[in-house]
């Protein structure tokens, strides 16, 4: 008979009660998603692992301040997100500007790319790889929004809390991020059609 896995809140209660080892379960549960977020934001694996490690340690040290009003994930990913953004700010002297010069394309009619066979597109593994590469090339704000939504599976409200931005900004970032990806995929498919 399978035991019901403990919830994050139950594990946190155990840790607070002195069973520090239980924290490993929390780490194991969130580390892959955390590393995915950090890796997409900072790019280098070793740096991403260090940031994830720092975030888990910081979360542990501040566990007393966690009130349980939000999910542990939301609270933890906010810590990780802040660490990643601090690292990015140190790396670049000037803030990265949004790379959208063709906003009209983003607001185009939904039927504009009917000739593109995108319906079957993601059945192809190479295109999934291309999507992964394109995801990493998005501006940080869009990349964060798309990752928090699809990897961390946070709601718009939770994303706003993690990114510390208004709800409207989250919606816009998520929308534009996805539209940019869609556009880039369409462009690639168009090129393939031309070559063929």
């Amino acid at each position: 008979m399978n035991a019901v896995p403990k919830t994050d809140a139950e594990i946190i209660d155990e840790v607070r009660a002195g069973n520090t080892r239980s924290y490993a379960h929390l780490v194991d549960r969130h580390k892959d998603r955390a590393l995915t977020l950090a890796l997409r934001l900072v790019g280098a694996r070793q740096e991403a692992e260090e940031l994830v490690q720092d975030a888990f340690l910081k979360a542990f040290r501040n566990l007393g301040r966690f009130r349980g009003e939000a999910r542990f994930g939301t609270w933890f990913y906010r810590i990780l997100y802040n660490l990643c953004m601090t690292r990015l700010r140190r790396r670049t002297t000037a803030p990265q500007m949004l790379e959208i010069s063709d906003e009209t394309l983003l607001d185009g009619l939904p039927g504009e790319d009917d000739s593109i066979p995108i319906e079957e597109a993601f059945e192809r593994s190479d295109l999934l790889g291309f999507l992964s590469v394109e995801m990493n090339s998005l501006p940080p704000q869009y990349k964060s929004a798309v990752t928090l939504y699809y990897v961390q599976e946070l709601s718009y409200e939770e994303m706003a809390e993690v990114m510390d931005v208004p709800l409207g900004t989250v919606k816009t970032s998520l929308f534009r991020g996805r539209m940019l990806l869609r556009k880039r995929i369409s462009t690639r498919l168009k090129k393939e059609v031309k070559v063929a």
Binding site: T20, R21, Y23, A24, V27, D28, K31, D32, R33, A34, L35, T36, L39, R45, A48, E49, V52, Q53, F56, L57, F60, L106, D107, G108, L109, P110, G111, E112, D113, D114, I116, I118, E119, A121, F122, L127, L128, L131, S132, M135, V146, Y150, V151, Y156, F175, R178, M179, L181, R182, I185
Partner: protein
């Protein structure tokens, strides 16, 4: 969004896909999609992109990451005695390995000849004091032991013994870590 030639915006379609359209607008958009092929095709494309994004593989963080976090989380007092002993043994082994390498290099390069090793003299014993005295004695003992089974020159056997000690220490270190340290974490 209204019926007729006015199409849905991408934002409306995306919000519908995210399940966040208000009830009234949701019905209007869904009704429009049933009648408008371009908008329906646009919605399908967004669905496919959505599915693709959900299928992107996660990065895999190894067990080492959990180990490193737990090492930082658990104060030394919480660690078992075996854990602490083995953790510190690693430093001793490291020192022995470095000293061993130096001794082997000295013997091989002729800075110390086998006679000096036998007599417990030479640079190693001069500069490293009691620890190196012990090491020289151990190497001498090992060499003598090896000579029983591998009759050869003393210098060659000293080298073989030194390498065997290094490999042995390395293997013992890994074994003890796997047995105690990983389990304790």
């Amino acid at each position: 969004m209204t019926e007729g030639p006015v199409h849905c915006t991408n934002e409306q379609l995306q919000t519908l896909l995210d399940g966040r359209l208000a009830a009234g607008e949701k019905e209007r958009v869904q009704s429009h999609l049933r009648q408008c092929a371009p908008c329906a095709a646009g919605y399908t494309r967004l669905e496919r992109l959505d599915a693709g994004l959900r299928r992107l593989p996660l990065a895999e963080a190894g067990a080492e990451l959990t180990g490193r976090v737990m090492q930082g989380v658990m104060p030394p007092g919480h660690l078992s005695l075996a854990f602490r002993i083995v953790e510190n043994l690693a430093y001793l082994f490291a020192a022995l390995i470095v000293t061993g390498i130096m001794a082997v290099v000295f013997v091989v390069t002729g800075v110390i000849d086998s006679g000096q090793v036998t007599e417990g003299q030479g640079l190693v014993s001069t500069y490293a004091g009691a620890v190196s005295d012990w090491l020289v004695q151990a190497m001498h003992g090992g060499t003598v032991w090896l000579e029983r089974y591998l009759p050869s020159t003393a210098g060659k056997n000293t080298l073989v013994f030194g390498i065997a000690v290094l490999v042995g220490l390395g293997l013992l270190d890994r074994l003890l870590h796997r047995r105690f340290v990983h389990r304790a974490r």
